[in-house]
Subunit: 339 residues, 4 copies
């Protein structure tokens, strides 16, 4: 088999998401050739490389970027390294798939997007949920006019368990590490821009989250340019599992995506009828979506088309997140133009 037509890939970062990408690249993306993995934890990365037959490992991403076999780089390292690595990769002429958020600093994002633009490489941001079949169907229903003019949107997004407090301290806060997905989903489903944000919230799940300067329960109201009003509600802890639902209501009807149960079994007894829980967390729920976003990334490289999630798509929800934070702190609606 001639592998020369394959796209050589390097992955930087081998945490939970990094490993998932590595698995998909090794097993399910025939057009990709996984050449090298980079991680600070060399022991760990060596074992992963062995498992998936990846020829090269390194703890220095510049080594990886210097490899001429590598045409595309997946950046799945810690958030505060995204910008540096993405910029270096772009400058090295590699296509970049960067996990969200690009950065917690808008200037750095803008700088990165400018470098990418100049380099003429593909730059896709890892908003995997857009590739979930149900959410994609909802977007299609909105975009095609099936539900008429959209008026109201509701997004529910609740995690099964809070992240470690150490993560909370550096994540940028709930709006930038968790709600950012929902801000992206909101823009994706409505196909329009947010103009104003109002956020309320509190510490209901764990006082330690409050001590770390964050909240764990929030409800955000978004107003779009086209008049749609959206609410997002988040909790760091839903005991029944990962709760990811959307609903868009419009002049001709409503479209909604529910949680998929892990099986289709129901039990009926004197207590009523019991159905299964949703998948535990994001890996279980969005594995097909994580795969699909990679497939789309390689397709846009091969077909020379724009990536389905652009740098601008990576920037916009960060802006909404800052507006939400400002709204929460000042207890007033905040225009995006204020950020």
């Amino acid at each position: 088999m001639n592998n020369s037509s394959k796209i050589g890939v390097g992955v930087v970062g081998a945490g939970r998401i990094g490993k998932l990408h590595i698995e998909h690249l090794a097993q399910n993306i025939p057009e990709a050739e996984l050449v090298a993995i980079c991680s600070l934890d060399l022991a760990d990365v060596t074992s992963v490389a062995k498992q998936f037959n990846v020829p090269k490992t390194t703890s220095d991403y510049t080594t990886l970027l210097a490899d001429p076999q590598i045409e595309a780089v997946l950046v799945a390292s810690a958030t505060d390294t995204h910008v540096e690595i993405s910029q270096a990769a772009a400058k090295a002429g590699k296509h970049v798939f960067c996990e969200k958020p690009i950065s917690l600093d808008l200037e750095q994002i803008d700088e990165t997007l400018a470098i990418v633009e100049k380099a003429g490489v593909k730059f896709q941001v890892g908003f995997n949920r857009r590739f979930d079949a149900s959410f994609a169907r909802v977007r299609e229903a909105v975009a095609s006019g099936e539900i008429g003019e959209p008026h109201i949107m509701r997004i529910t997004s609740r995690d099964p368990v809070p992240p470690p407090i150490e993560y909370v301290k550096v994540s940028g806060g709930i709006f930038l590490d968790m709600t950012i997905h929902d801000f992206d989903m909101a823009r994706y489903l409505i196909g329009d821009e947010v103009v104003e944000v109002y956020a309320v919230g509190g510490v209901r799940v764990d006082p330690k989250i409050g001590e770390a300067g964050d909240i764990d329960t929030t409800v955000i109201t978004l107003q779009f340019q086209n008049g749609v009003i959206a609410t997002i509600d988040n909790s760091r802890e839903a005991v029944y599992g990962y709760d990811q639902r959307v609903e868009v209501f419009g002049s001709k009807g409503m479209v909604a995506a529910a949680n998929p149960p892990i099986d289709t079994v129901t039990f009926s007894d004197s207590e009523g009828t019991r159905a299964a829980s949703p998948p535990y967390f994001f890996v279980e729920r969005y594995k097909p979506a994580f795969l699909a976003e990679l497939q789309a990334f390689f397709a846009c490289i091969q077909e020379r088309t724009p990536p389905p999630v652009t740098g601008a798509d990576g920037r916009a929800p960060v802006v909404v997140g800052f507006a939400a934070l400002k709204s929460l702190r000042e207890n007033r609606p905040v225009l995006l133009s204020e950020i």
Copy 2:
């Protein structure tokens, strides 16, 4: 208020079903004037009459039939009195609403239908489930061709608790006291006649039912003239409540009616999602259908139209029941023409 345009009604029998009819007549059928109630238990009937403002009570049904104010009679007494009272009522020129089954004796049924025919009065049999909105919608879907040619039908019919053993001993057995409703439902939904029956069953719920000569669990296969194959499954005891479902599969699709839950509430926790049980038993589930069958009865009197459930409809499922009994005993399919 001028009541002379109302239809004077007498009710014979004031057991559970009789009382339900009395309540509906007193409260919800403005075109009926409830004139008299007859029951062997005069103390009981006096209290019911007081509750619903019924002017006359008697323990002798001939007294009731002699009342010129009474134009229509509801026969809700013990099964073995249906024929005698229905025949006398018809001979007295009264319209008759008779609970199912008309009789456990085909000759007596035929005799009754002949008398009714000769008297020119309305005769409606109490197959209340036909008036359930969901089942009526299923029938409409079949009759209108929405699902194309029907091929396969499934009926599930399970009671929450077995009847008293004393009742089991005189009821005619499960096919004639319980499945008879499903035989009627089968004919109603398909709009065609059964030609062959195969029944299997056993005693799984309570050995006492077996000692009384009956079974408590059965599965029956019906073949219709038009080629539809149907199965009915029955149990005397479903711990999760009254289970009444139908499904018709055809060349253009499938239509099904599920159990209605008693409320629309769901609970989600780490065990999954719990929804409500169905209504407890037939009164809770079919109260609107019991009312609707009476409304239809009075409408057919006023509008001089045929009753929606005819004497022939009352006879047919008894024949199917006898065929099922013969099939069970002889462990072979039995043609209806053998009965």
Copy 3:
């Protein structure tokens, strides 16, 4: 039958809701004796009285209040007459069931509640949805701690069709004629008081509603004393029918009430599976709740207990409504203490 133990009732107002109450009183509340109906439209009220055997009719509510047979009065007339009639009825020593809202004027409400208090009569406000079995079950789940500490609540409430523009002009606006039910539901489900309100909205359904000075689409965020954050979304026009759902999320799970379909029938064909719509509008959906609120009213009279929906319950959502209006106009969160 001795009717002297029954509670004599007079109904003022015979519009859609008035007629529904009259029907329930006449047919389904055995402890009530419907003595008189009052309406400005004497021809209409005469026909209703005839239909339900109500002995007296009048177009002057003072005549009705002067009737010594009447112990309780149902006020179902136009909103701007609620206060005058309720006050007069209380002064006449009658128990009062008053439709919502008591008034659009807080001073008048307070005056009325003071008069009722002084008169020592029962005063119940017509928040019928509290008596819906599903919503009552949700409240029970919250109150009993089944879902732990409540954190987030979502209420969706959308009408199938907008009211006439003439009604919009005098109704007090969407917050006081429509959302008021949801404000009550919010207080009822959480069992706590709202402290801050933020409302956004617009005219999406019909420009005439905007010309009449109202909005037709709104999303409201409520913050409760106990920390619960709630959102309510309203639309004047949901083409799929009356949409009335609630969801409460807490530390131990989630409880939700969905729309009941009008039947349990599903169709499966190459387009997917189709299920039935919800009941058309409030009469179809809440008929059992309208009956149950009356039963509760007469029970509290007979058992000398406080009414389940008090005058204070009638006042509170009006305050929330004014806060919502102020929030919408000033585009900022408004404390209830500002009203």
Copy 4:
């Protein structure tokens, strides 16, 4: 990477199922080393081998069996070759995974099982549906006593489109090519043996199927040793898609597995609520189950445990199938002991 610990595998047959197994072996079974593929269509198999990096191809299965690298053989060729290849593979000391049915000839099955037994190799039959998560959960509920003593089981199994008439002519008929899966499912879920079978059926979908000597619509009643009564209904054409549902009713409750929709999206409009269809056919629906059965096969080789679907499990449903055929032809219940 040291592949010497991997199990060398050869696949015989590269039709639809064969290709699916090849894909799974190449991508998702790290403990397997796919060494060779055998197919009569060498051009086709060469392209598949190239796609999945399989080093060897052949059109002669004896070549494959002679390969010392190969420890396990997957037999996915035409049904009438299963016995010859399985026997030869077992004699060559290879573990065998054989697609269903082993054969349409009971003597050949018995001969094969004897040879396998003597050879001491693993022999697993491809009843993939046992590995569906929902059906496995139903079986667990039955086996663990969650629903008490099982009484009644219903299996619905309908294909989206009929197979080609050429296939119908050689498949052994609906009972042996289609219902055989349901006979296996019935045994699997109940964990007991069928003693009597009654089958009815007809040609409702396509007269050509009748001309080929088969039926396309059937309902079968099974009686188990332990008293459970089961019905299976089959159609060759369900326009709404692949319909695969089971329900087991017992003394303590009911457990059921529904069809999974392809997404969780619902649309609500004036026609009602629409949900998604089930996956199109067996590959779409059972892909994870096809993978899981292979994983179980390699696990039983590595762990030296019995295969989860044994040769006896492969034989039993063939016997039930013959009994069903006899029942249909003779229109009477047939004991399995008659076969």
